[in-house]
Amino acid sequence: MNDRSPVLALDNVSKVFGSGDTAVYAARSVSFALHPGRTLALVGESGSGKTTAARLIMREYEPDSGRLLFRNAPLGKASARTIKAYRASVQMVFQDPFSALNPAHTIRYHLERPLRLHRPDLNGVQRRAAVVELLERVKLVPDQLMGKFPHELSGGQRQRISIARALAVNPQVIVADEPTSMLDVSVRLGILNLLNDMKRQESLALLYITHDIATARYVAEDIMVMYAGQIVEWGAVDSVLGQPQHPYTRLLLAAVPDPDRRFAEAPADDELSRIETIRRQSALPQPETRQVGDNHFVRPMPE
């Protein structure tokens, strides 16, 4: 199999909640692919659909239309064995380090369970060794932490355990849903670096979901910008962030706190209505796609 072929892909996936007037289009014709050894950043505001995309990948619910492709085969009609393989291949790192670990269980338990479920070939001794190895990989000291409970660990340590748990089953894809937004600033870089290292060492395909666009530039090669369930602009991260084409992308980038730019004296009246217009128009369904660069695409906003 070609190393560049995607491990996981969404093909024209849509998801609607509710119906009629109150229908919410959480995902509208969403298509993207995850390749081994590459990070794809998914950025957008709350309600943009990025969480829905993550949930569809984790199979919390099924798409209303379109398909999920795993190793180029549609997952819809998969056998139980394929589903089990899928579960081991696609893991998630959650946003909230406090809620991601069970307060009633030790760290050892958290890391042993995935091994018990997906590596039945290991006996007790091998399993224990595997847990030690996992902790060392995420730069934690095994002896200190194995018997501890989650509440005895800091947020950063808990997030590292989450990553270790995800790595335990030798996945091919990791979905990181805002993995650093609830951590202290000085701790975030360490976690991002860890994700990067793991990605490179294991040739993982990483889907990095965030609202902090600056971190997307730091960790990702490719980026997608979502709004109202649609991917409005996507491509290589330097191209999209350097020469944004879609008005919404430009709006988003202009709003990112930049210490080099002090606030203007007053927001002009027409600026506020311009923002309104961009939001309204960007929410309209737009099937057309335009290529604007080597690896840079946009769904032009309807006028």
Binding site: K84, R87, Q91, S99, A100, N102, A104, H105, R113, P114
Partner: protein, 295 residues
């Protein structure tokens, strides 16, 4: 376990546990603690407390102390037995309803509502009188199967909120089977609620059993605190001045209730750290009074 060691550090818990342990030990060693049989006539009717009969005698000449400590066995057995039944049914149904949701939740809720709506004591009265002279075992069973509804509600709502936590999602994504998630991921986080439910159910069972027997629906040949109350009432103990006859079972029930309630408060405090004040508040008040600081 963590909870146990925390309990032992809590003053309320220690007092409650001491009371409870004392009552249990007295009940277990009852035959060795008294020379009198609880059902034989060993003295004159309504003798006041004396060195021979520490708590006096009943109208039929039975030794009150002997009846009291033998009766403890029945009250404890019914209390803990029914309490266990109530808690097990309530917890299991509550977790299943909360975790599974959907149709299963609807069905369990329907039955829970039915049981909740029926007033507890009148139902028990009707059942007990229908059966005639209900032995403690029968009473325990009736209590167990009619009083679980509140426990289901509480357990279900805790389960619902736990269900949303990421670690449950993580377990599901790993492919853990549902029964394992309910028993080993969710249940360990419910232990304080279940503990409080259990102790509360025990208190309820003890009191309700005594009530049923006091009202004359129990088996008069049993030796239990409820029957002691029933006998004392029939003998008009208070009017003839034989206060020991009535007060002994009353105080015994109150003591057991107190011990259990203290344990419950302690579990609640441990589970909810915001309720813990104790040492901190004293130090704080002292510092403010001395002028070391203010709010």
């Amino acid at each position: 376990m963590k909870l146990l060691s925390q309990l032992l550090h809590n003053r309320k818990a220690v007092v409650g546990l001491v009371i409870l342990t004392l009552i249990i030990l007295v009940a277990i060693f009852a035959p060795w603690l008294t020379e009198y049989s609880p059902v034989k006539r060993v003295g004159r009717p309504h003798q006041a407390p004396s060195p021979e009969h520490w708590l006096g005698t009943t109208r039929l000449g039975h030794d009150v102390f002997s009846r009291l400590i033998h009766g403890a066995r029945v009250s404890l057995a019914v209390g803990f037995g029914a309490g266990l039944l109530i808690t097990v049914i309530g917890t299991v149904l509550g977790i299943i309803a909360g975790y599974k949701g959907g149709v299963i939740d609807e069905i369990i809720n329907f039955f829970t509502n039915m049981v909740l709506v029926v007033p507890n004591l009148p139902l028990l009265l009707v059942l007990a009188s229908f059966i005639g002279q209900a032995s403690p075992l029968v009473i325990a069973i009736i209590l167990g199967f009619t009083s679980w509804a509140w426990g289901v509600r509480v357990t279900r709502s805790e389960t619902l909120s736990l269900r949303q936590r990421d670690f449950v999602k993580s377990a599901e994504m790993l492919g853990e089977p549902a029964w394992r998630i309910m028993a080993l991921e969710i249940f360990p986080n419910l232990i304080s609620i279940v503990g409080i439910n259990f102790i509360g159910s025990v208190i309820f069972a003890v009191i309700t059993e005594a009530t049923l027997e006091f009202l004359g629906l129990g088996d008069p040949n049993t030796v239990s605190w409820g029957i002691m109350l029933y006998n004392a009432q029939n003998a008009s103990a208070l009017s003839v001045g034989a206060w020991w006859d009535l007060l002994s079972p009353c105080l015994a029930l109150a003591l057991l209730g107190l011990g259990l309630a203290l344990i419950n408060f302690a579990i609640d405090e441990i589970a909810n750290p915001r309720l813990r004040t104790g040492g901190m508040l004293n130090r704080w008040t002292r510092m403010v009074r001395v002028g070391e600081g203010k709010l």
